[in-house]
């Protein structure tokens, strides 16, 4: 049960120790104290360990995460969980812009709000935001699911590919090629599983969400669409 106090240990030492852990490590439960908004806390971890960070973190916390469960007991700066591959990142406060950017797998949960460009270029990650998200979220999202309990800002899902977006509150505006789609039974089931995974099954009503996805008109260059580029 290692406890690392970043007021005493350097961030570089912490990350080196975490990045050295293998799949069979016995040190499976880590606590990080005094993160004080440092950047890249617990980035690049590749082991099934759990890491609790006691306080706010800066940019790219848990970036490239594989297998680890990372809990941030505070807010997270830009790019939390960017390009994560698997595992779980749970931010108990708010997340700044580009949360889960380019993520390829795993689950990112934000208890508060996430700001602009949440899930930009998402490629398989699941993102659950219990508050609202900012403008240009899910821009060019290729796959994965995004669930938002609150509102979405302007240009949601601009140039979207196959990421699926579920938003409960009002959407300020849809981006190019993003449209509202019907919620069928399979989508309600999918959404319920995501709520379950984020500990909210039964606390919010699946029926209150609307689904947004790609109209699939901008996938390939088409001269008829030139005005839309």
């Amino acid at each position: 049960m290692p406890v690392v106090d970043l007021a005493k240990t350097s961030l570089r030492e912490l990350n080196a120790a975490l990045q050295k852990l293998g799949a069979d490590t016995n040190e499976t439960s880590w606590t990080v104290l005094n993160p004080s908004g440092e950047h890249a806390v617990a980035a690049g971890v590749d082991a099934p360990v759990s890491i609790t960070i006691d306080g706010p973190v800066g940019y790219f916390c848990g970036g490239m995460n594989k297998h680890a469960t990372i809990v941030v007991d505070g807010s997270a700066g830009q790019g939390v969980g960017e390009n994560m591959m698997s595992g779980l990142i749970h931010v108990k406060g708010d997340a700044s812009q580009s949360a889960g950017a380019t993520g390829r797998g795993g689950l990112l949960i934000v208890d508060g709000n996430a700001s602009a460009r949440c899930g930009i270029s998402m490629k398989g990650i699941d993102i659950v935001v219990k508050g609202s998200i900012g403008h240009l979220s899910a821009f060019m999202g290729q796959s994965g699911r995004m669930v938002v309990f609150g509102e979405a800002g302007e240009a949601l899902g601009d140039s979207l590919y196959e990421a699926r977006l579920y938003v409960r509150g009002p959407v300020a505006g849809l981006g190019a090629d993003c449209i509202e789609k019907a919620m069928r039974e399979e989508h309600r089931a999918e959404l319920y599983r995501l709520l379950e995974a984020s500990g909210e099954a039964g606390t919010v009503d699946v029926g209150e969400f609307r689904r947004y996805g790609s109209a699939r008109k901008l996938y390939n260059f088409n001269i008829d669409n030139v005005d839309a580029y």
């Binding site: 908004g37 706010p56 700044s96």
Partner: protein, 298 residues
């Protein structure tokens, strides 16, 4: 990169802490801008008098220079010096005389600000060192703005550091880069606005000064800037009683704000806000793009 911090105090009992809190907030932004730093502090005014802050290069005997200026201006002028800067308290009609005197007798000096309450302190160097050299921590005031600079558009000099002041009690700090600053600078100079440097951010300050001179409110001037400034920016702007924030329509540059009953605070990164009282229960949010935020003392 650059870092910005700003603090607008609502509860007067917090005013004595302004400098200490702003210096602390700025300290956590050193890595965003290690080249130079600057502080704009809205301090007490002296009824019937104006204030002019000027700087001179290190090595200049600033007290001697300020003394000569006071002698030239005559009765009632007072001077106080801090590190490389001097604050001159003078009759309002003497501000232009003081500027002329400095231009004629001390061309190495630069006027930082003029107005009733604004004082600007800025210098090249690591931000913590700059704050210490000016003893920012001991300053009381109603609001203040600071900047840590990583230079992109112009040289690392004292005059290239932020904040910029181009009008009485007005100041601006900027994180970003403005592409059409050369053509705008020419137009603004032609319109009679004083611009002292080649820095793009000073042009943004001058643009707002011009718009306000022509009758727009600060809010209207900031809204106009969304059409006329080409580039990316987060601005924090101070006026004698007001404090304003604007991000470009894409919101390229980071910004986070916190508000309680006692203050409104702005920072480039959340860690800069963690030193503030009751931050755990403050309303914290990221300002929306192309949206003017404004607070004012009655």
């Amino acid at each position: 990169m650059c870092g910005i911090a700003g603090l607008f105090i609502k509860d007067p009992t917090l005013e004595p802490e302004l400098g200490r809190l702003l210096a602390q907030m700025t300290s956590s932004l050193c890595s965003r801008g290690p080249d130079s730093a600057g502080f704009a502090i809205y301090r007490d005014s002296t009824p019937g008098f104006s204030k002019l802050t000027f700087s001179a290069p290190e090595g200049t005997d600033i007290a001697e220079l300020a003394g000569r200026l006071a002698d030239a201006l005559g009765h009632g002028t007072r001077v106080a010096t801090r590190h490389t800067h001097a604050v001159v308290t003078l009759a309002p009609q003497d501000v232009a005389r003081a500027e002329d005197w400095l231009a004629a007798h001390a061309p190495q000096a630069t006027v930082m600000s003029a107005g009733n309450r604004l004082e600007i302190y800025k210098e090249v160097g690591y931000p913590d060192d700059v704050a210490k050299a000016f003893d920012i921590a001991e300053m009381a005031g109603t609001h203040g703005i600071s900047h840590t600079r990583m230079a992109t558009e112009s040289a690392v000099t004292t005059n290239g550091a932020h904040p910029f002041s181009t009008g009485a009690d007005q100041c601006l700090v900027h994180n970003g880069s403005i592409s059409n600053h050369s053509s705008l600078r020419r137009e603004l100079k032609r319109d009679g606005i004083t611009i002292r440097t080649e820095n793009d951010s000073e042009v943004a300050a001058a643009y707002l000064t011009k718009k306000m001179r022509d009758g727009e409110t600060l809010g209207e001037a900031l809204t106009s800037s969304l059409d006329d400034l080409d580039g990316f920016f987060t601005f924090v702007v101070g006026t004698e009683n007001g404090f304003s924030v604007l991000r470009d329509p894409i919101a390229c540059k980071p910004a986070v704000m916190a508000e309680t009953d006692r203050y409104v605070a702005f920072a480039s990164e959340f860690k800069s806000l963690t030193c503030l009282p009751d931050i755990a229960t403050a309303r914290v949010w990221e300002p929306k793009p192309a949206t003017v935020y404004f607070w004012e003392h009655a």
